[in-house]
């Protein structure tokens, strides 16, 4: 098990399976939110389901719609359990705050997309700024 330290984030303690890519994120640009999959052909996670995953990505991009969209996705139980970024933008943090979706960023040990591997079990404690990975 390893423990990774990050900036204090938003939301509750959650555990789940990691889905990782060295790519960016926008709920508007990248997702088919009806079916819960990445739908942008150019995205490294194209075709994969994000539902109930701990998403691990580089940064957030694109427009402001993602803020409402996280709330909407969570209301239908078709959202990730948490999103970890190297660096979140303001929109995703604001959306996480409304949706009560767990979100953390700024990891002390470097690029989070290379520190966690898809399929690993991850526990996120946003208040303490700690992410533990079982291995």
């Amino acid at each position: 098990m390893i423990t990774l330290k990050c900036h204090a984030g938003i939301g509750e303690v959650v555990e789940g399976e990691a889905l990782v890519a060295a790519d960016d994120f926008s709920a508007r640009y990248d997702l088919d939110r009806i079916n819960g999959v990445f739908s942008r052909p150019q995205h490294k996670l194209f075709g994969q389901s994000y539902v109930d995953k701990i998403l691990v990505l580089n940064t957030s991009k694109g427009g402001v719609a993602s803020a409402w969209m996280l709330h909407e996705m969570k209301s239908r139980n078709l959202s990730p359990k948490a999103i970890l970024f190297n660096r979140a933008n303001t929109i995703l943090a604001q959306g996480a705050a409304l949706a009560n979706l767990t979100m953390c960023d700024r990891f002390e040990d470097g690029d989070i997309t290379s520190l966690i591997t898809t399929g690993e079990q991850v526990r996120v404690d946003p208040a303490s700024g700690l992410v533990t990975v079982e291995r």
Binding site: D30, D32, A67, N89, T90, I91, Q94, A97
Partner: protein
């Protein structure tokens, strides 16, 4: 976060539930970004289309709007970004009654809170542009990047919930671009190939946004030989914000915070040249001559009155191909002017459609694409072709002139 007496009263619920929610929301967001306190804002602008809101978001707004009038009313002037449904014209687009009902419910909730339904992403051209140094809480990335960069206002990207919190309280957490230190340049770009028409400006903005790559980078650009028009820099900024999540840029000798490179701290930065290959690589990823076109879209951002005239002039005396749709999206105030001046009629006579108070990509783009059999989309907006790939479209990019010519030919010319 340090709160004054009035803010503590808001947080305690003494000024009603909507303000309590807003304070709580701002504390969460402010903590993530290490805000020391709240900063007063003079205006708020909220992005909230029904596709993004869903039933959950509309329900959330209705709950806030159900509180007593004195509690729910916004504290500073608050305006809205484009709607997702043009209630006068949605049926021919294939939008459903369910979509329209969500829109109607949302409008009723906003109206109860005294939010002005301006339905525009070009408020800096049409409503009340902020002045240099004015703190505002604007949504829509294109609005924010324009107001920060061109006008020198201070705003973060405020998603709908945060813009609403700002509107209800007249404050926003002081972090990001509300702090002068974060407005200094972090990346320096040199332009050698001068942009011409609107799409060139969009492509240049897109390339710089892509190379900047994060909300926390501030590009400074040297080498532009011509001061852009408001429409040109609108496309430049909207594309940059779309590709890079970039909220602020400086143009040396042009934008107000950058009379010189030194003024934004750009001297010590390594200069990155924007090459012709960078520009053509971005263009070539979108469509090619001879490809069929299902729908030609002018939107993202909404058209100014000047752009409406340009589209109308290009449409005058021509006929849009029977298998191709042409859609132009503008704000309600510009629509009124364009109608009064005969521009709407000219576009419609050619077979085009003008939508009022919406923008194509936030009006259920996936569903209207499926309802109308639209996949091959052509636009002069570098922003919209970036967005719509994820919505099942095959987007292509061309100048406004080529877009109209292609709409008439039914294929990219």
């Amino acid at each position: 976060m340090k709160l004054n007496e009035e803010e503590q009263a808001m947080l305690a619920g003494e000024l009603g539930e909507p303000k309590r929610w807003a304070l709580d929301h701002m504390l969460k967001v402010g903590a993530m970004f290490d805000a020391a306190d709240l900063v007063p804002v003079s205006q708020a602008h909220m992005m909230a289309d029904p596709e993004s809101l869903g039933d959950a978001g509309v329900g959330f707004m209705e709950e806030l709007a159900a509180h007593p009038a004195e509690d729910r009313r916004v504290a500073v002037p608050m305006i809205t970004d484009p709607r997702g449904v043009d209630l006068e014209r949605y049926r021919p687009l294939g939008q459903t009654e369910e979509m329209a009902d969500l829109e109607r419910r949302f409008i009723a909730a906003c109206s109860a809170m005294a939010i002005l339904m301006t339905n525009t992403c070009i408020n800096y051209q049409t409503i009340m542009p902020p002045v240099q140094g004015e703190h505002v809480a604007f949504g829509d990335t294109g609005v924010v990047i324009y107001c920060n960069s061109v006008l020198g206002a201070y705003s973060n990207f405020e998603g709908g919930p945060s813009a609403l919190a700002a509107g209800l309280t007249g404050r926003t957490p002081r972090y990001g671009l509300h702090l002068p230190a974060n407005r200094r340049a972090t990346k320096r770009f040199t332009v050698r190939h001068q942009p011409g028409e609107l799409t060139d400006w969009g492509v240049l903005g897109a390339v710089i946004g892509k190379l900047s790559g994060s909300y926390w980078e501030v590009p400074v650009v040297e080498g532009l030989e011509q001061v852009p028009t408001s429409d040109e820099v609108k496309h430049f900024g909207a594309a940059m914000a779309s590709y890079g999540s970039t909220p602020l840029f400086h143009l040396v000798g042009i934008t107000p915070e950058a009379p010189s490179l030194a003024a934004v701290g750009g001297e010590g930065l390594e200069a990155i040249e924007v090459s012709e290959q960078d520009l053509s690589a971005l263009r070539s990823s979108f469509g090619a001559k001879g490809d069929k076109v299902d729908v030609v879209v002018f939107a993202a951002p909404q058209l100014s009155l000047v752009e409406m005239q340009q589209v109308a002039d290009l449409c005058a005396g021509r006929k849009i191909h029977a298998d191709t749709a042409l859609i132009a999206c503008t704000s309600p105030s510009i629509y009124y002017e364009a109608q009064r001046l005969g521009l709407v009629e000219t576009i419609e006579t050619a077979g085009g459609r003008v939508l009022e108070g919406t923008c194509f990509y936030n009006q259920y783009a996936r569903e209207i694409g499926e309802a109308n059999g639209w996949t091959r989309l052509l636009s002069n907006s570098a922003k919209i072709v970036n967005i719509l790939g994820g919505y099942g479209y095959k987007p292509a990019l061309a100048s406004m002139e080529h877009c109209v010519a292609s709409a008439c030919a039914g294929e990219i010319v």
